[in-house]
């Protein structure tokens, strides 16, 4: 337990610096954007020059860049991301409202790609160089070459337009009045296509990593020893080879979370899932830069938290991790 805590403490300190750099970066982007929050506000509501002056002063936009950065940081410390002009509500509330949908989409897609990907990877890696191994590795490469948004459209054409098996988009049936399990089943039905589109792209990555890892492990002496002991091939594949190739995949789970979030932007737009990604696209369309940068900040925090969780899981799975620090 101390191992995990020590690791966590060191990672947290590093994360604070990283987050600070992200904040300064987003602030610079905000500065680079043509026009400021007042221009955006006036453009949507109308107002005269006096009104503009007043608002600039009230929102602190007539201060120097450094003062504004300090104000921005101070507000962020209080979890205040500012006001969204398009929604006329605090950005934090808008984001928090959309976040669960994205987490649900990402979580399911990750489970799909990790589960099915590593299973198929074990199937391919069990007999290196065999026909099924070659077929699966070419197939996974082809799958990895498919743009997620296009796969989503193809799934819509086949399963929603032609076969009418699944709804075309959205997160649940509008005003259906469903509650409890009925509602959960309804949401699941809506999520099957977007989760498949997002999950199948990244499935290839886990498949290939599993397969590559297993081909390394096959050469180790302990595999030979296991054969000499007379263990069944099935047992050797699952308990010895696959098990030792699994750990790098856990690391990949954390590293991929940022990619997954980026991928969900397009997938959510294709399937009109009201999540963080769709919000990002709405922010772009409405030129609501503060909202867009708020989404980036929240995503960065999310990625950091996921990686911390993966690190802790890793410390539990592999006793060597962090052992040197606990001993010191």
């Amino acid at each position: 337990m101390t191992r995990a805590l020590l690791l966590l403490r060191r990672r947290l300190v590093g994360s604070v610096f990283v987050l600070l750099i992200v904040v300064v970066g987003t602030f610079l982007l905000l500065e680079a954007a043509p026009g400021d929050a007042v221009d955006a506000y006036i453009a949507s509501t109308g107002g005269d020059a006096g009104m503009i002056e007043l608002l600039r002063h009230r929102w602190g936009l007539d201060q120097s860049a450094l003062t504004r950065l300090a104000t921005y940081l101070w507000a962020l410390l209080h979890l205040d991301l500012g006001q969204s002009v398009t929604f006329s509500r605090p950005i934090r509330d808008v984001i928090l409202e959309r976040l669960p949908n994205t987490l649900l989409l990402m979580g399911s897609a990750t489970a799909l790609s990790f589960g099915l990907g590593s299973a198929l990877g074990i199937y391919a890696g069990a007999r290196p160089g065999s026909f099924r191994d070659r077929l699966l590795s070419i197939g996974s490469l082809a799958l990895y070459a498919v743009p997620g948004f296009w796969l989503g459209l193809v799934l819509i054409i086949v399963f929603a337009v032609d076969l009418r098996w699944f709804p075309i988009g959205g997160i649940e049936s509008i005003a259906s009045g469903k509650t409890g399990l009925d509602r959960a089943a309804d949401i699941a039905r809506h999520l099957i296509l977007p989760v498949s589109a997002l999950g199948f792209i990244y499935l290839a990555l886990y498949l290939r990593m599993m397969r590559a890892g297993m081909s390394e492990v096959w050469r180790q002496d302990f595999v030979l020893a296991a054969f000499a002991k007379g263990l069944s091939r099935r047992r050797i594949v699952l308990a010895h080879v696959a098990r030792n190739a699994l750990l790098p995949l856990v690391t990949m789970l954390g590293l991929q979370s940022a990619q997954m979030l980026g991928g969900s932007v397009v997938i959510e737009s294709v399937f009109s899932v009201p999540g963080l990604g769709r919000l990002a696209q709405e922010a772009v369309a409405a030129r609501d830069t503060p909202l867009l940068l708020g989404i980036i900040l929240v995503s960065a925090v999310l990625v950091i938290v996921i990686n911390l969780l993966v690190d802790i899981a890793y410390a539990f799975l592999d006793p060597r991790v962090g052992a040197s620090e606990a001993g010191a």
């Binding site: 987003t26 982007l29 680079a32 070459a145 743009p147 296009w150 932007v265 397009v266």
Partner: protein, 276 residues
């Protein structure tokens, strides 16, 4: 065996090479076969493919030639993919080399910046950058490179850490070369091979990111892009799905070609290394 013949030994590499050659041919000959504006109206709207041989792939909602758009789109995809990957590799190589060679505080600062860029989803970063600066070819290339340089930087740094202890670096120090000159002229070129192995993945990712950006309407509005074509086809998904499917297939083939050729190159290099 010559490197080219060794490269063409596996069926995967041959397939990749054929796809890429065909693609470059498409991109280069687009202005010859379709000299006019690909945005110009060429025939009746929503003509299905293989009906009229003067418009073999049919027309879109506004009656524009799909084949002409496809060829011009190949130009954009390849240009953006190659330019963004080249920029990402160059920036990553320089930053990684400086971090690894300088060590200490410089290394620490540069690597924390790398961490920060890896923490922000690269697609969101590209989206924000293009939407703030405004879509044009150069901006799209920069936006993609912004999210792609971190991988090469890490690889370059790891290489440099092992190279900087070698004798020829010590030799360069002894003859009084400036550290910056040693880093960029002696160490960097030796750290390049693993970076080049990474390049096919980066080109492929850049092409996919460009497609996704233009799908969301953030591509260069003056150019035909495959992502933009897919987005246009989306409006008539029920009646004319071919408008979304054709450019998508082109995208898949392109990225697959890049991957396959890249694997071929890596394998060729690996064989050469094991031979020598």
């Amino acid at each position: 065996m010559s490197p080219l013949r060794r490269f063409l030994r596996t069926p995967e590499a041959i397939a990749g090479a054929i796809i890429l050659v065909a693609l470059f041919a498409m991109g280069l000959t687009a202005p010859l076969f379709f000299p006019g504006d690909p945005h110009a109206i060429a025939g009746p709207a929503l003509l299905p493919p293989f009906q009229d041989w003067s418009l073999p792939l049919g027309t879109d909602r506004l009656g524009r030639d799909v084949l002409a758009a496809l060829l011009h789109g190949a130009r954009t995809s390849l240009a953006v993919g190659l330019a963004a990957a080249a920029a990402a590799l160059a920036v990553g190589a320089v930053i990684g080399t400086l971090a690894g060679f300088a060590g200490g505080l410089v290394d620490e600062v540069l690597m924390r910046i790398t961490d920060a860029f890896q923490t922000v989803p690269s697609f969101l970063l590209a989206l924000a950058f293009v939407s703030v600066v405004g879509p044009s070819l150069g901006v799209v290339v920069t936006a993609i490179a912004l999210g792609a340089w971190t991988g090469p930087a890490r690889v370059a740094r790891a290489e440099v850490l092992s190279i900087r202890e070698r004798d020829f670096v010590a030799g360069a120090r002894v003859i009084g070369m400036h550290p910056l000159e040693i880093a960029l002229r002696e160490v960097l070129p030796n750290a390049l091979p693993p970076l080049l192995a990474l390049s096919s993945v980066i080109v492929a990712a850049a092409i996919l990111t460009e497609a996704a950006l233009s799908f969301l309407g953030l591509g260069d509005p003056n150019r035909v892009t495959w992502g933009g074509m897919i987005a246009e086809g989306r409006a008539v998904l029920r009646t004319a799905p071919f408008l979304s499917i054709i450019p998508g297939v082109a995208l898949v083939l392109t990225v697959l070609g890049v991957y396959l050729a890249g694997e071929g190159v890596v394998e060729t290099a690996a064989v050469r290394r094991s031979l020598s």
